[in-house]
């Protein structure tokens, strides 16, 4: 168990810069989830921490020791790969014992540790099997077992659940969380799935284009996204954005869609007429008979407990609303929606950054 510090890590492949200086400090026992769309550099960051890629600049510090120039084997880390990366010619037992054998542990201790991890993961009956005789979920458990027995300073997860089917994914997600809590090992978890990120992470790093856009707790990110990218990435269906301008005094915004919203949490600084982007999540536009927001419905997705309605507002911007499952508007209808003023997010129209009072 240890802390992890990433200081100004940069990475270029030839002329292409994929990481523009990432800074992150992970506390002992904390689980950090790095989330972002594909190609954002999150896997590269993880591989740099693992020592599988060399950083072009910056430092990686594990447990107070600078490991930037060390080989993976000298970093005392364990990693769970997306495709599990089990050794195909070894039994499950040998897979889990491999790292321990290399470190020259006594046979008895290896046996004890493997047995303990296997019991913890409920794979004890599989110890004599080969990886190809296992299902995807079982392979995933073995890969985790291989990481656990090493008792490393740091766990690295590289999209470990993306090869599993939806049901198994939810189940394994809960299991990973439980394991990480009980073992208390500092972890770095990379995923593109924002639900996984929200549920697993003590804190999230939202990455985009090689930059960490925001580092905060899941609820912080949900409640106060730092910019339009984060706001649109975290949350499903994603947040709606409506263009508008700042009212005199900064007390609210006049939307292009034809109405005004007031800022309950205080006035924004800036001259009247400044371009703004107003963000509002689909669950915060409830239907209201006298609502100012007129939505022309063009697609309805009934999900049972709720109904998602996609449509356009008068300014021709698209908007999604999450309505109670009892409502089934038809395409072409015009819905009147309200905006919950306390749930409004204000972003600069130019930079996309969050504007607070």
């Amino acid at each position: 168990m240890a802390t992890l510090e990433i200081q100004g890590v940069q990475k270029s492949f030839g002329a292409t810069k994929v990481l523009h200086g990432i800074d992150l400090a992970v506390a002992d026992g904390e689980m950090i989830v790095v989330v972002g769309p594909s190609g954002c550099g999150k896997s590269t960051l993880l591989r740099i921490v693992a020592g599988l890629e060399t950083a072009t600049g910056g430092r990686v510090i594990i447990g107070g020791q600078d490991v930037t120039l060390r080989e993976p084997k000298d970093r005392d880390i364990a990693m769970v790969f997306q495709n599990y990366a089990l050794y195909p010619h070894m039994s499950v037992y040998e897979n889990m014992a491999y790292g321990l054998k290399i470190r020259g542990l006594p046979r008895e201790e290896i046996r004890a540790r493997v047995q303990k991890a296997a019991d913890m993961l409920a794979i004890a009956p599989l110890l004599d099997r080969r990886p190809r005789q296992l299902s995807g979920g079982q392979r995933q458990r073995v890969a985790m077992g291989r990481a656990i027995v090493r008792e490393p300073k740091l766990f690295l997860f590289d999209e470990p659940l993306s090869n599993l089917d939806a049901k198994l994914r939810v189940q394994m997600r809960a299991e990973i969380k439980r394991l990480q809590r009980s073992l208390g090992v500092t972890s770095l978890y990379v995923t593109h799935d924002q639900v996984e990120a929200m549920t697993l992470g003590d804190r999230l790093v939202v990455m985009h284009g090689g930059v960490a856009e925001q580092i905060a707790t899941p609820l912080d990110i949900w409640n106060r996204p730092a910019n339009i990218f984060v706001a649109g990435f975290i949350g499903a269906p994603p947040m709606n954005f409506l263009a508008g301008t700042l009212l005199p005094g900064g007390t609210g915004a006049r939307l292009d869609a034809g109405f005004e919203v007031g800022f309950l949490d205080g006035a924004r600084v800036g001259p009247a007429g400044t371009r703004l982007t107003i963000g509002i999540r689909p669950e915060h536009v409830p239907p209201a008979a006298d609502g100012p927001l007129k939505l022309t419905v063009d697609l309805v997705e009934p999900l049972g407990g709720e109904t998602l309605v996609h449509g356009r507002v008068p300014s021709d911007e698209s908007l999604t609303a999450r309505l109670p499952g009892s409502m089934h508007p038809v395409a072409g209808a015009v819905l009147a929606l309200a905006i919950q003023p306390a749930q409004v997010h204000v972003f600069s129209g130019e930079t996309g950054q969050r504007l607070d009072r």
Binding site: K73, Y87, Y98
Partner: protein, 293 residues
């Protein structure tokens, strides 16, 4: 996916198979049958009459110290050719599999030896190692070794082994390179994170995962060394000195073509035929059953 085609008549399928069957019959079964028949005959010195002698030719062969000598030569020769060509091919493939500049050029160049005719490559080795005019022979002499494979049987064996193995390195190289590229990178990365050094990763992960390839190549190389190295031996040593490099296949040629002892030569061919059938059977059995990950 395999699609089953069902023919209505019986004529068409046989007609379609006919060319292949004809070729196999004329070029494989007929000569093989002739060899088996010939192996039970003995010709008079002038080749006018032949007498049926049953298995006497075989009995004589296995009582003949020269034949048994050729047998042990063949074992030593094939074993070393297979070992060296596989070891060097694997070594080069491991190097070529790394990210290096000009890897494609390097790979292409390594495949060239396979395209050179055996007699030509043997001539090349001859010029390099000829005791009187050879370039390498001079260098070896410079180190105080009395290099003369025309006299020294051990040196002659070494030379034909190297020449024969050299040619097969390319073939092994290609197969090993393909085998290496089929190993998922993440498995090696996992081993690196598990703490294995590069050497250890090779012996505990890469080599076991290559074992199907290695086994296949072992059989192919043995068959090559048994049957395909006539050119190299003929051009370099003619089986000499004092039959030190006379292998089974070379002895077939010497006894049959040079000494015109057709019965014995045919019996030797039949023995070789049995050997290759055995090797192929072993190969099929294992390739079908064993080691696929």
């Amino acid at each position: 996916m395999r699609r089953r085609v069902i023919f209505r008549g019986k004529l068409l399928p046989y007609l379609l198979l006919a060319p292949q069957i004809a070729i196999t019959a004329v070029f494989f079964f007929w000569p093989a049958g002739m060899a088996i028949m010939q192996s039970m005959l003995r010709e008079d010195p002038f080749g006018l009459r032949s007498t049926f002698v049953g298995l006497e030719n075989f009995a004589e062969l296995f009582a003949d110290p020269l034949y048994l000598g050729a047998f042990s030569n063949t074992l030593v020769f094939s074993g070393s050719v297979a070992f060296f060509s596989i070891a060097v091919g694997l070594f080069l493939a491991v190097l070529a599999d790394k990210q290096i500049r000009g890897a494609n050029l390097y790979k292409t160049l390594l495949i060239w030896p396979y395209a050179i005719a055996p007699a030509l490559s043997a001539a090349l080795w001859l010029f390099l190692f000829h005791p009187a005019i050879g370039l390498f022979a001079r260098i070896i002499r410079g180190y105080g070794v009395d290099w003369n494979y025309y006299i020294n049987g051990g040196q002659a064996m070494l030379l034909v082994t190297i020449a024969a193995a050299w040619k097969q390195v390319s073939y092994n190289f290609i197969f090993f390179l393909a085998g290496l590229q089929a190993i998922p990178k993440s498995v090696l990365e996992a081993a690196a994170i598990d703490g294995a050094s590069e050497t250890r990763r090779f012996w505990s992960i890469v080599f076991p995962l290559l074992s199907p390839t290695t086994f296949f190549l072992l059989v192919v190389n043995l068959v090559y060394a048994f049957f395909d190295t006539f050119g190299a031996i003929h051009a370099l040593t003619q089986g000499g000195p004092a039959k030190a490099t006379e292998t089974l296949i070379y002895k077939v040629y010497v006894d049959g073509v040079v000494n015109l002892n057709l019965g014995s030569s045919a019996a030797q061919s039949v023995v070789l035929m049995v050997l290759v059938i055995m090797l192929t059977a072993v190969q099929f059995r294992y390739i079908e059953r064993k080691v696929h990950y």
